[in-house]
């Protein structure tokens, strides 16, 4: 079936099957920042924003997003690069496979939470798994990125 969606502010028409998930559709379309790192809907690597909200694109049927606005990491390049530099400087980025999904969630958190506590940050980011690290570097980077009283 044919669906019309807005991907990174661009109107796009896509051909999808009824049981196709958005992560696969978007990767086929060229959005290779989307990864799949689990088979259990729990790793957060496939995070995209659907109408501004971070969601797991591995679990959203493409046919259901007709007319909706999708933002991938390719659509927020500048903001993503800014945080990615801090992430790398804190030594948090190792294999990097989980970084795009993590970055999308961090950017969403920044716009959703005002002056979050460390506990609130950890809670918001719990759905992003990193198999290389112990999350300490990521947390340092997030605090530095958000600035304010957390530093």
């Amino acid at each position: 079936m044919e669906i019309g969606v807005i991907i990174n502010n661009e109107e796009v028409t896509l051909q999808v099957s009824a049981d196709e998930f958005l992560a696969d559709t978007l990767r086929t379309y060229g959005m290779l920042g989307i990864r799949k790192g689990c088979d259990t809907t729990s790793c957060g690597l496939c995070t995209v924003w659907l109408d501004g909200k971070p969601t797991l694109s591995c679990s959203i049927l493409s046919a259901r997003v007709q007319g909706r606005k999708i933002t991938t990491i390719e659509g927020v390049e500048k903001e993503a690069a800014e945080f990615a530099h801090i992430l790398a400087a804190e030594g948090a980025d190792q294999c990097g496979f989980c970084s795009p999904g993590f970055i999308m969630t961090v950017l969403a958190m920044k716009s959703e939470l005002k002056n979050p506590t460390e506990e609130e940050i950890v809670h918001y980011l719990t759905g992003n798994l990193c198999r290389c690290t112990g999350y300490a570097g990521q947390l340092r980077a997030v605090k530095k990125y958000l600035g304010g009283s957390l530093l």
């Binding site: 259990t40 969601t55 049927l61 007709q66």
Partner: protein, 265 residues
């Protein structure tokens, strides 16, 4: 592998129910987070997202939750934070991550009666009713105990009151499925104790709830109630814990939940 031949987005519940019941393998879609892990071969998948069923409305006597309301909507709802000590936002906030909770729906979780549900247990401890398209309106407890028929769970209604409630759970790690969960509520010394993830679906411990409602709240009494709950309900074994373990921790969680409610001013 999970497959779908056809996907429709009807605009009325009537139309959705008609399509749902046309063929045996036609299915209503919730958030798909769990459905996709299975191997169901769906003929026509019925998506309810074009019916404005994503809402949390405060009515005169009830708080109404549309079936397409997501767990994240519940988690950040000002109304649900205001009532029952925010027990519902607190309970669902443990489910995987924000991105997952932005997908999974109230209707699918309740209708599917998932044993591991973090939502059903506190809903049982509140005065909750469900509105089914064909089956009509009934208490959540009645719905959970009746044989499952193909239907559409349209709305969840929670009776507004000054009920005090608490939610306790044990997990191997944050965001994992609960090994066991407990919700306790009290309004005018009428207590309800519900236990879920046993791993069977949540149930109310009626005898223990009645005994607790008789008052005389000493530490010994609470210990006794916790033991009654452990004896009254059945527990099972799965990869997260065995029946004996669940029975043992149910006493601890029940005691903590009762204590938490008693500490409310």
């Amino acid at each position: 592998m999970f497959t779908i031949d056809n996907l429709v987005q009807p605009e009325t519940l009537e139309e959705a129910y008609k399509i749902l019941t046309e063929k045996r393998n036609n299915t209503i879609l919730g958030g798909c987070a769990y459905l996709r892990l299975g191997s169901q071969r769906i003929g026509t998948a019925v998506d309810l997202s074009k019916m404005n069923l994503n809402f949390i409305k405060e009515q005169d006597e009830y708080i109404a939750l549309g079936c397409m309301t997501t767990f994240r909507d519940v988690e950040i709802s000002p109304v649900l934070h205001e009532y029952f000590g925010g027990v519902l936002p607190k309970a669902v906030s443990n489910v995987v991550g924000v991105q997952f909770r932005n997908i999974v729906t109230v209707g699918a979780s309740v209708y599917a009666r998932y044993g591991f549900s973090d939502l059903i247990t506190p809903l049982l401890a509140l005065d909750t009713e469900v509105q089914l398209y064909r089956g009509g309106r009934m208490s959540l407890e009645m719905f959970l105990n009746k044989p499952l028929e193909k239907d559409i769970l349209a709305t969840v209604f929670i009776k507004k009151s000054a009920k005090k409630a608490a939610y306790q759970h044990l997990r191997k790690s944050a965001s994992d499925y609960p090994i066991l969960n407990v919700a306790v509520s009290n309004l005018d010394n009428q207590w309800i104790i519900a236990v879920g993830a046993r791993p069977q679906r949540a149930a109310i411990s009626r005898h223990a709830s009645e005994e607790l409602s008789k008052g005389n709240m000493t530490n010994e009494k609470i210990d006794h109630i916790a033991s009654l709950v452990a004896e009254e309900l059945s527990y099972g074994t799965n990869m997260r814990g065995n029946a004996e373990y669940r029975k043992a921790i149910s006493k601890v969680l029940v005691k903590r939940a009762i204590s938490e409610v008693l500490q409310w001013k």
